[in-house]
């Protein structure tokens, strides 16, 4: 086994990096792949709560880097998905506690034992971002169909190219099909035309994401939600399968409308 390192980044905060990392990791692990997630957001860790593993942290990334524990001791195994592991970020330190070469060394040590190493990048374009992309084989940029998120995505895509980690792939998150339909939200094609990189996933805005995050249970493990399906599709594409993109912009039929009335946020 020789793991691929995939870094998920965005520039702007709050667009869904951590949720995407958790869900893609869970979907890959459900598919039987051996996956380890690294939370590179030192000082603002969150991947642990999104994955529901916050009560099991003993050691963290900085403990490994500073030699207080062995790499294996900092890896938390997800009991629901035995192929999924997490290396949490330190909460009481800052980004400078880790260097880009520390990240490369750490990932190289993990590579023989895994299929995928997913790195959750912090927001911003500083040290934390550079730490996160240093070990990457593939960089995924996540954005929302909004002016500020698209602008920051463009900036980060340029920086990924400058670091010779490109071309980045794109996830567009929190698409509201109803707003796109009436021309009040950038459509997938608009964002693609502006950013001019390859699309790897589109995710609809889905209340179930908040609900599953409340429970610490990745939504990609929920068989019924649309967002969960979208994350599973991304995992398939990472695995090299050809999966058509969901048609989020088509008009709901009568039954679609009815089911939304009965089960809001579902369908």
């Amino acid at each position: 086994m020789e793991a691929k390192v995939i870094t998920i980044t965005s520039g702007k905060g709050g667009v869904g990096k951590t949720t995407a990392t958790a869900n893609i990791a869970a979907a890959l692990a459900t598919d039987g792949k051996r996956v380890v997630c690294i939370d590179a957001d030192i000082g603002l860790r969150n991947l642990d709560v999104v994955l529901g593993l916050e009560n099991r942290i003993v050691y963290d990334l900085v403990d490994v880097v500073e030699g207080r524990c062995r790499l294996r001791q900092a890896m938390i195994r997800d009991k629901r998905l035995p192929e999924l592991f997490l290396i949490p970020a330190a909460q009481t330190r800052d980004k400078s506690a880790v260097t880009p070469s520390d990240m490369v060394r750490l990932c190289d040590e993990l590579r023989p034992d895994f299929d995928y190493i997913l790195v959750d990048s912090p927001a911003g374009i500083e040290r934390g971002f550079r730490n996160a992309i240093a070990p990457a084989d593939i960089v995924i940029v996540i954005t929302n169909p909004e002016v500020s998120a698209v602008r920051d995505a463009d900036r980060i895509i340029g920086m990924i190219e400058a670091e010779e980690k490109g071309p980045a792939r794109l996830i567009i998150n929190r698409i509201k099909p109803e707003m796109v339909r009436r021309g009040d939200m950038l459509a997938t094609n608009d964002v693609l035309e502006l950013l001019a990189i390859e699309l790897i996933g589109i995710i609809p805005d889905d209340e179930n994401v908040v609900m599953s995050t409340n429970r610490g249970l990745p939504i990609s493990m929920d068989g019924k939600s649309k967002a969960g399906q979208a994350f599973r599709n991304i995992a398939c594409r990472i695995n090299g399968e050809q999966v058509p993109f969901m048609d989020l912009e088509k008009r709901d039929g009568f039954f679609g409308k009815l089911s939304r009335m009965i089960r809001p946020g579902g369908a």
Binding site: E146, V147, V150, R151, D154, R155, I157, G158, E161, M179, V180, R182, G183, D184, M185, L186, A187, D190, E193, L194, L195, A196, I197
Partner: protein, 89 residues
């Protein structure tokens, strides 16, 4: 909601298309670090240099930024005035 009249006359510009147009311009600026003011002074300099060699109409000169994938390109369209024909005889 906009009125039917606004829609017919095209005065109703949906917010998504405004977002796209605004982003196009912002991204050009972000990617190239060329402000509209810099573009103007570039255009003025080009006109000066080219006029030294060939007769052009400064009003007709167009300098535009075009995007090909993630590559920005500066396109200059400079029509040349026809050469004054010497009258025979």
């Amino acid at each position: 909601m906009s009125s039917l009249w606004d829609r017919i006359t095209g005065r109703d510009r949906r917010s998504a298309s405004q977002a796209k147009e605004r982003l196009k311009l912002v991204l050009i600026h972000d990617r190239t670090d060329l402000s509209p003011a810099t573009m103007q002074s570039l255009k003025d300099d080009l006109i000066t240099v080219i006029s030294r060699h060939v007769s052009i109409d400064p009003e007709a000169v167009r300098i535009e930024m075009s995007q090909e994938g993630r590559e920005q390109r500066l396109i200059a369209d400079i029509p040349i005035r026809p050469a004054q024909r010497r009258r025979a005889g």
